[in-house]
């Protein structure tokens, strides 16, 4: 029976668990419940990916109403792959959160944290799996509201302004998407994405549809923090509790990137977006500016979480660059980087959270001498940092390899060089932290109170991610296969849509 509902389960499980978690209140059991729920969702998303890899596309008609009349969940390799990253990260972060939030969130709000986390997971899963443009908006709002909550749970007052800014920008983004979806609906009379694709007649290019598309792309760009619409991200990730930063940085923006890919490739035709409207040029330029500007900003920050946040903006630049190359390899590079970046940023933010747990600060000065005091944490930070830089045998190298290959495929030598030059900037901002940890003497106040390693419950998920960083950097069969299947499927989709149009006619 579960097989039949496989597509719906990753959304439903956290969705149902959230209200239960809320009632359970503050207890040790709440944590266990939330974590095991998330693990269950993760388990089913593994199955879902396996099913998608073997069967191709899974369609699940909610309410038993066939699409386009009812809402459809549409699972293919692409979203199953991203979903796997999201649910895995969620589980690991929840394991990590038990001790981490003790220091960062008031005790009375712990159950709210778990509830919001599960809601966020449910929202992100919904965004990924749904095949309906308006349903996407609804789940976008579920995840966004949960995210605002999570960000504002920290004890630093600046998290409030960060959350407010995030809320305003996020709502503007969501409303833009709403406008765009409305325009598409106005011209086609349907909301189902596949149906939309078959009904948008690109050759009779309509100004309304083009505008709708532009609004959707801008709205999603706000959500995924594409430069220059990224202003909400650095403060939000900096002042949020560490567990939240780890989860959001590794999942939330990635899901938005996927949504962008999905709209561009499955709803609007690729040729239309890229060849007629030259969206690829705009995206490419923005992505490259994002990589350099944000990396540079990251270099001059003193708060390590801000450094990582700006680094995230830069890494999103890489993902967008991959998709703007308009090739199977480029798209594959984006997908692989979505997955890999989740692994690296998760580990990095967890390590920084561990430092906050013991030292009580994430300023770069606080990292001095930690290489000796917290060897495991700093080793995790170092390996994940090397991964961000793109050192061989880590996942970062794999992403960069595909991205540069994709650029070179089309003889974009300059872009290939810029991508690699961008990772040099990563050397600097990661190197600063590592140097402080290993080669600088601790400050006087820190030297006095003996700093110990963090509890094993925090170390375990961190190291699971670190090992995943290495494992998937060596054995790339899973990521490559899934990403390749995903991107090839997305490129074939245009043909599929046209054949379907004929059937309907």
């Amino acid at each position: 029976m579960l097989e039949q509902h496989l597509a719906a389960l990753p959304i439903l499980i956290p969705l149902l668990a959230a209200p239960i978690t809320f009632i359970l209140g503050r207890s040790w059991f709440t944590w266990l419940f939330a974590t095991s729920t998330s693990a269950l969702a993760c388990f089913f998303s593994w199955h879902l990916l396996a099913a998608a890899l073997s069967d191709g596309v899974l369609s699940y008609a909610l309410g038993g109403w066939p699409p386009p009349w009812g809402i459809e969940l549409r699972v293919d390799t692409a979203n199953a792959f991203v979903l796997l990253a999201v649910s895995t990260l969620s589980t690991l972060v929840l394991v990590y959160a038990k001790d981490s939030i003790e220091k960062e969130i008031e005790a009375s709000k712990h159950s709210l944290f778990y509830t919001a986390h599960l809601l966020c997971l449910a929202g992100l899963s919904g965004m990924l799996l749904t095949g309906d443009a308006f349903n996407l908006f609804v789940f976008l709002e579920v995840s966004s509201l949960a995210t605002y909550t999570l960000v504002s749970l920290a004890s630093d007052r600046r998290c409030l302004t960060a959350a407010f800014r995030y809320l305003v920008m996020g709502t503007i983004g969501a409303t833009f998407i709403l406008i765009g979806v409305g325009m598409l609906y106005m011209m086609t009379g349907t909301l189902n994405m596949l149906d939309l694709a078959s009904r948008i007649d690109v050759y009779e290019s309509s100004r309304t549809i083009n505008t709708g598309m532009a609004f959707i792309i801008v709205g999603v760009s706000i959500k995924l923090a594409l430069f220059p619409l990224h202003m909400w991200l650095p403060p939000a990730y900096t002042y949020a509790p560490s567990a939240v930063s780890a989860f959001l940085a590794s999942t939330a923006t990635k899901v938005a990137v996927y949504v962008m890919i999905r709209f561009i490739f499955t709803v609007f035709e690729v040729e239309h977006v890229f060849e007629e409207m030259r969206m690829d040029l705009i995206l490419m330029v923005l992505a490259i500016v994002a990589i350099f500007k944000s990396s540079y900003t990251a270099i001059v920050q003193s708060n390590v979480k801000t450094v990582l946040a700006y680094s995230s903006v830069a890494q999103i630049g890489y993902m967008i660059l991959g998709l703007s190359l308009v090739s199977v390899t480029g798209l594959m590079a984006s997908f692989i980087h979505i997955f890999n970046h989740a692994l690296m940023k998760g580990a990095l933010f967890m390590a920084v959270g561990a430092v906050f747990y013991r030292v009580g600060s994430v300023d770069i000065k606080a990292f001095r001498g930690l290489g000796k005091q917290m060897p495991l944490t700093m080793a995790a930070f170092t390996i994940a940092g090397l991964s961000i830089i793109g050192v061989p045998l880590t996942v970062g190298f794999i992403s960069k390899w595909y991205l540069v290959t994709a650029a070179l495929e089309q003889n974009h030598w300059v872009i290939a060089a810029l991508v690699l030059a961008g990772s040099l900037l990563a050397v600097v901002y990661i190197g600063r932290v590592i140097e402080a940890a290993y080669f600088q003497e601790p400050t006087e106040s820190q030297a006095h109170n003996k700093i110990k390693e963090v509890p094993w419950l925090m170390l375990t998920p961190m190291w699971v991610l670190v090992l995943a960083n290495i494992y998937f950097g060596v054995d790339t069969s899973l990521t490559t296969e899934a990403a390749n299947a995903a991107s090839e499927w997305l490129f074939q989709n245009t043909e599929m849509a046209t054949t379907r149009q004929e059937v309907i006619k």
């Binding site: 909610l62 509830t115 919001a116 949960a146 505008t211």
Partner: protein, 326 residues
């Protein structure tokens, strides 16, 4: 005639919006926003969207305005002079507006029945839903059955809002001596009228809840109206008395229960062998199944919306009460 009303209302709407931009008195801004909401509700009625109008009037103009006023009580009603330049926002807005205007150029004519929007999916809702779902109100059919998953998401959004507000503002019971301060104690007329009206409002809420299948209304509107009844109670008799009627803990359970009730219908249909939220499978007869399903999920929606709206009001007003004591 309808067109003319429409034009006039739209013009009034535009005037209100422009006035909001330039007013510095935030109280007036919020009042104007309430007017804006009511005007748009009128336009919605004029455009045949009765359910939407109902919701906009109760949710947009009602609850939103109340919450804004509650915030204003804590933050002060004057906006300070704006120091930074408004040039950049103006440029952004102009570009966005120009893009939108560009987009309208190919838009189909207003109200033309041949528009694509009325062609593809909608006809089935209009023609088949009375037979397939069995309800005269197509909006309810689509909302609760065809797009029931959206509605579940919507309930979850409301629930998420509760989580967010609770994580920001904690609800605390006031002690006894504070209770005497709050409420409109000396307003005897109000007391009497409130006692008279509150049962009526709740009755009306129940009517809206269960009549939503046949006329405009449904769980959202009902939940908000019922919440409004208790908000009135809390305003007139003081927050502590309202707590005595419905405590915060109980509301939390209600909010969760509503979501779970909704989802359990889906799970039950899964158990019966259908897809999630497939009401046809709930009962032996598909139409009966649709009927049960819709009634139960609307109830779930109503419960959650009621509980969440009231909790949010509690959260805001206990902040106000605390700051008053200070």
């Amino acid at each position: 005639m309808a067109e003319l009303i429409n034009l006039v209302l739209l013009a009034m709407l535009a005037l209100t919006a422009l006035r909001i931009i330039f007013l510095k008195d935030l109280f007036a801004v919020i009042m104007l926003f309430g007017i804006f909401s009511f005007l748009s509700a009128l336009i919605f009625i004029n455009l045949d969207a009765v359910d939407v109008a109902f919701t906009e009037a109760s949710v947009g103009a009602g609850i939103s305005t109340v919450l804004m006023l509650g915030t204003l009580a804590l933050t002060g009603r004057k906006e300070k002079a704006n120091s930074h330049s408004s040039f950049l926002p103006l440029v952004v807005v102009c570009i966005t507006g120009a893009a939108l205007i560009y987009g309208t150029l190919d838009m189909p004519d207003f109200g033309d029945p041949d528009n694509p929007v009325h062609q593809h999916v909608a006809p089935r809702y209009i023609e088949e839903s009375p037979k397939e779902v069995g309800l005269p109100n197509m909006v309810t059919s689509v909302l609760a059955s065809y797009r029931g998953f959206d509605t579940l998401g919507e309930v979850v959004v409301v629930f998420a809002a509760l989580i967010a507000v609770l994580s920001l503002l904690s609800i605390r019971k006031e002690t006894e001596q504070d209770a005497s301060e709050s409420g409109l104690k000396s307003h005897h007329v109000l007391h009497v009228v409130a006692k008279l009206v509150i049962p009526l409002i709740i009755l009306f809420a129940l009517y809206v809840q269960f009549h939503g299948d046949f006329g405009p209304g449904g769980g959202f509107q009902a939940g908000v109206i019922a919440a409004a009844a208790l908000i009135l109670y809390a305003l007139v008799f003081g927050l502590p008395n309202a707590f005595a009627v419905i405590g915060a803990k109980f509301l939390y359970c209600m909010a969760s229960a509503g979501v779970l009730l909704y989802a359990s219908v889906g799970l039950f249909s899964m158990y019966k062998g259908g897809n999630f939220l497939d009401y046809n499978k709930i009962a032996a007869e598909p139409l009966a199944g649709q009927h049960y399903g819709i009634i139960i999920i609307e109830l779930g929606v109503g419960i959650t919306v009621f509980a969440v709206m009231l909790s949010i009001f509690y959260a805001f007003s206990s902040q106000t009460a605390r700051s008053n004591i200070k």
